[in-house]
């Protein structure tokens, strides 16, 4: 097991990474205060809820709430269900919510914990690679609104994160690979050495070897923790984590959030962002090729399919909430391992899209 520490204005908390942690209550029990509500989804609950429940300390008062699986579950209605359940079990200000699941459960249960009695504790137990390396660390919580994803939410840091690598064995292939895209992202924007490590361990990661996975998740969590510690509320460098996301979000929206997993869209988005960096004279073409190659080694998509309308993608990027004025704010690479935020002329983005 490896432990990272996340330092934020609202306190310091540990992230435990390793195999079989859900079965080691000594790790997580100490973070539970008051009554405990375990929130999970149908898929994850079937695999792990009984295990976690059976390991609660004798006499500890806890209940569970199982919600439907999938991004469409991240609604105001389901968030209210979590609140109602907390009311129903008479949870007080000392209560704890355990978010047992992927990013959707982490976001929704996290926002319920953030807003119940103006904030109770949440313990994140992410069971997907994407949630372990990204969503569970850093305190972003939220639910979707008809007008946009995560439009309603809060910054609410967890009391601890328990990333059990063992849960990744049951992940379906595409979800697993989508998580790897965010792992590659940390290398691309912050750590060329980590990118080299990924190149050397692609086979081990493709085989989901626990040792390599623990190292990859731990390294990713450390990167995330450093960024969050420096910029908890995303007023500055935390936005660098959006590398590949402006293109990726547009692609997800254009395809109705059905064709691509988030990480797949981000993989394609990172290649497009690298090309834009090239066009603006920031990045050598060899770096774009190397980034593309790592993604391919990890069997991620890197090309914008022919049937995607480029004009539509461009229009969606202009609508993206992170933009101001006419110029479009994007995260670019100065070299592999070093990212920068710039506003750039719409025409350059259009050109990259047309030529990809």
């Amino acid at each position: 097991m490896k432990v990272s520490q996340v330092n934020t204005h609202s306190g310091r908390y540990p992230v435990y990474t390793g195999e079989g942690l859900l079965e080691m209550p000594g790790i997580w029990q100490r973070h539970l205060t008051g009554r405990t509500l375990v929130v999970s989804d149908e898929n994850v609950a079937a695999l792990y809820l009984d295990k976690v429940g059976s390991l609660m300390a004798p006499g500890h008062r806890w209940q569970s709430l199982v919600l439907p699986a999938g991004e469409t579950a991240k609604t105001m209605t389901n968030w209210q269900l979590v609140i109602d359940k907390l009311v129903d079990m008479r949870a007080q200000r000392d209560a704890t919510v355990i978010a047992l699941g992927g990013g959707v459960i982490g976001d929704m249960a996290g926002f319920a914990a953030a807003s119940y009695m103006r904030g109770i504790s949440v313990l994140q137990m992410p069971t997907t690679l994407l949630a372990q390396v990204d969503a569970a660390v850093g305190g972003k919580t939220g639910i979707n609104h008809a007008a946009g994803k995560n439009l309603i939410g809060a910054f609410h840091q967890p009391v601890a994160v328990v990333a059990d690598i063992g849960t990744l064995a049951s992940l379906d292939e595409r979800s697993y690979r989508a998580g790897l895209a965010e792992v590659v992202k940390y290398g691309a924007i912050r750590d060329e050495g980590f990118l080299a490590w990924l190149e050397n361990h692609a086979d081990a990661l493709n085989s989901r070897l626990p040792g390599a996975l623990t190292d990859a998740v731990h390294a990713s969590v450390n990167h995330k923790a450093e960024v969050v510690a420096a910029d908890e509320l995303e007023t500055g460098q935390r936005a660098l984590l959006n590398f590949g996301h402006t293109f990726g979000h547009a692609l997800e929206t254009a395809t109705g959030y059905e064709r691509y997993h988030h990480g797949e869209a981000v993989a394609i988005g990172m290649v497009l962002a690298a090309r834009l960096s090239e066009l603006l004279g920031l990045l050598p073409a060899s770096d774009t090729r190397r980034l593309t190659a790592v993604l391919k080694l990890l069997e991620l998509p890197t090309a914008l399919p022919d049937d995607i309308n480029r004009d539509e993608l461009f229009r969606l990027m202009q609508l993206d909430k992170k933009n101001r004025d006419d110029r479009i704010r994007v995260v670019l690479l100065e070299k592999l391992g070093q990212a920068v935020i710039q506003t750039c002329p719409p025409d350059d983005i259009r050109e990259v899209l047309q030529n990809s």
Copy 2:
């Protein structure tokens, strides 16, 4: 005009107190960033919305949302209306919400600002005495749930508070006096000298003289600011502000939130809490008499009416969310100007209720 500074972990902000501040855009315009949404209720909007709107800087993009008046408006539905309005006007992360109204508007608009895009700015413009001396300062926001008031919410500090004493002239008599109860509370728990000042200025306050009111609000805000700076998230001494509230809440609940204004119930609750302090040997009877006398000078109720069932009140206090185990946590006085939190035996509370 007087200015207080509130120092919190999330930043430092000013509270401006004085007459006619809504008509001085130089005071508040500088705190507006991005698009601005003014949230108000029907009563307050009729009096002040046009004034505030007409003073916005030329070209500043703003809209307004007017909600029904009253505590029953503090619902999830109305909170969603504020969110939807922000979406509708395409408010970005740099947008500002102005909460123009009493505590209900401040709480609801504040929580909408807290949760829209994980937090945008809110500028509090409290128009009731209660909101000026209490709710608008300190960052507590929230909405009601069928199971309890303010059960859903967030700590979200404003960027500034503009307390225009001039708006108090239009307050109905009972609302005005209810606000005075919270003013007396600061004297009772923190500042015997302020209590003496209130005794000497009761006539001026009863006549709503602007000078006395400015002094009283400014002193109250300073007390609130000191408590909030020391304990932003109410893990310790901020709970002292609940002096009179455990009894008061029970009385409000027992009478269906219709018979008493919050401050009136708190006035009676403070007298009961003083008597409990006496019973426990903490406070001399002369201090209870003096506190009761100040409240009477300000024409506030101090006696529990005969038709209130004492057993029912006791039961409601046991249900109060701030209690743990069998003993009941209450704020008591050690002397006028000094409060302490203690858990005390249920029988003593029962005795005070039976004898009051």
